[in-house]
Symmetry: C3
Subunit: 276 residues, 3 copies
């Protein structure tokens, strides 16, 4: 059975939230973890997810998790429904563990990895003794993550869940119609680069075709292509590139493509790839 | 005697400053610590305290410290008086150690915990060899914190101080007059939520009373109540809630209560709790 | 031979980038490191270097590195030329290792420390198996830093480089003409303080001379001096001070000197120091 256990030597706990770093909330979560599993190596993914933007958080996690060692426990708290009836869950999928609210944060993980176990966090023995209605990151998710990293079996965390019943975002794959690909912007990164839902391996002709156009609804067309940012002169125009996440992107060198093009998360975009 | 010593295995050093993360200052403090006590587990509380706002920093520390393991050394540098005659101190209180300037940062700690020792950092053997006049975080507080975490007794750090002589902020507790509670805003968090100085356990009737009004000086009244953020419809109006810090707060779902209400740190607020 | 090796117990890897903390990029680099050298102690210097500002990054690194323990591996990624033909390098200099692009980031290191080894990162055995054209921080620099921290000799990383052929920024030292010193602003810190390229030890008369004037090109003159920020009354005027980095600076107490004076990175400034 492909059922990894976290390293007992120095298990990694990776944290992602939308809490920002201005208050002590993230530090408090780390304090809770250090009190339960002192040997844990805590790594921040980011705490500046756009507040309560679950689709953006899901994508950031998807772009990151496979670079972490087997056994890493991801504690993810982007949780607009905290205190309501939404479930709190732990999932063992692929080589990793994922802890957070059952609101679609783990959609890409569930698509990409085999699920070995999914549990509702119904066992209060692994929560703080007092659980608030507004800060489950501190009271439930951090301690559960710490106990998992410390080697407590996921089956201890609560009742069994059917993985197929977990919440998932409605993420449409791109659709290809002849030379056209209808796609979406699934992430706007820190630099304003626009990331589409088109995996690079599915468009081997992207940089070889005689012409490629990316068309936004308002009619704006991007037809420059660059293999890397420093290529060519800096004319301030947007270009199509292969993002390091493994998806097709639109960027402006030394500029902000999202602002220049007036494009946001979720926007439709159509690529027209000329046949050679 | 209740006199904890830091874990020799992986002692925690928790750092809080107002330095921001844009320069290398916080990283430099960590480099100094790593050179003295390599096994230390360094955790950031926050480095985005409003610059030189000692009352805000004191509150963030108060909301955080009891979630950290016994033996944690807190290195706190919000220090508008750096280079002047203000004292540099280490305090052992409750199960923890606190290192920083003697300017009121530790007011809540001194109120809430028994003080086992207080020392002026007068022993240069535990400072960097060159002490600047502007960066005691690097030159004094980080090394002292590292030596404490490494097991050097606090009594080595300098001369004895009378705990009652340490600087304290003038923090008024709320006052109750019949159905009225006169209180203050003691913290504005990262989301603009307003935290009052009213401990939740002192107002057991907050969510059960038939009516509660929170009245700001300009006459603005908040009378909605919510047990958690996702409760009810999102009407964009401010509401009274129980903050995860353990205090009564005022928030706006998906909004910024401080901006909407024009309220800042220190503002007075009166709660009127109807008898049932 | 002065050839330090990183501690095998808990080697320090210090990271500096211009990636910001809004995406998962820095977390991904740490995940890569944790997978290669689990025992590494990862410390952030800063990730908020002004995007693609190599001179600013070089200065921040210069102000920080000598506070880190011997054997620390610095992974520095401010890399406007990523994907182009600029070299990727590792340098062993003084007691430390430095990994990053060959674009001048290590100029101060090369000036201040003896170079023991310099290597082009031409050995793909120490990179991720897939190397993107836009994220060498993840694909090359983080893994190389992790392998160095784990004890792999720098000679394994790739072909020998002549240290004198490494890229260097054109950093002019200040020039003294009698009572005048022509200098430059080489860093604007997080608080807007202006740091000059005048080392404090070279101007022992700075605080003892009867009069000192700092003159900006537009004619603005700063002639107040302070030994520390809290000195004197807060009149909102800029003053000359000794920065904790070891250089002469210009600051405004509780204010932003860069904005008040309209001065940026690279600006010329002339000091006139009256003879006593």
């Amino acid at each position: 059975m492909n059922s990894p256990i976290p390293s007992q030597i120095r298990p990694v706990i990776a944290i992602m939230t939308d809490f920002g770093l201005g208050d002590g909330d993230v530090g408090i979560m780390k304090g809770v973890i250090a009190g339960i599993t002192p040997q844990a190596h805590i790594i921040d993914i980011t705490h500046d997810v756009t507040p309560q933007n679950v689709p953006s958080a899901a994508w950031i996690l998807a772009s990151a998790y496979h670079f972490f060692p087997a056994g890493t426990v991801f504690v993810c708290v982007v949780d607009p429904g905290v205190g309501s009836s939404r479930g709190a869950i732990a999932v063992q999928a692929g080589d990793w563990f994922f802890v957070g609210p059952d609101n679609g944060l783990f959609t890409y993980i569930l698509q990409e990895q085999p699920v070995h176990a999914a549990r509702l966090l119904s066992n209060p023995a692994y929560h703080l003794s007092y659980v608030s209605s507004t800060f489950h990151g501190r009271d439930i998710f951090a301690p559960v993550g710490a106990y998992l990293a410390g080697g407590i079996p996921i089956t201890e965390m609560g009742t069994h869940l059917d993985p197929t019943a977990l919440q998932r975002l409605n993420i449409e794959p791109p659709t290809r119609r002849g030379t056209d690909i209808d796609a979406r912007i699934i992430h706007v990164d820190n630099f304003g680069n626009l990331i589409t839902n088109i995996p690079l391996p599915t468009v081997p002709d992207l940089f070889d075709a005689s012409k490629v156009q990316a068309i936004f609804p308002a009619g704006r067309v991007v037809d420059r292509r660059r293999r890397f940012f420093a290529e060519g002169s800096d004319d301030g125009q947007p270009f199509i590139y292969g993002d390091s996440s493994g998806y097709v992107g639109i960027a402006v060198r030394n500029g902000n493509a999202a602002k220049m093009l007036g494009v946001r998360f979720g926007a439709p975009i159509t690529f027209v790839i000329a046949s050679k």
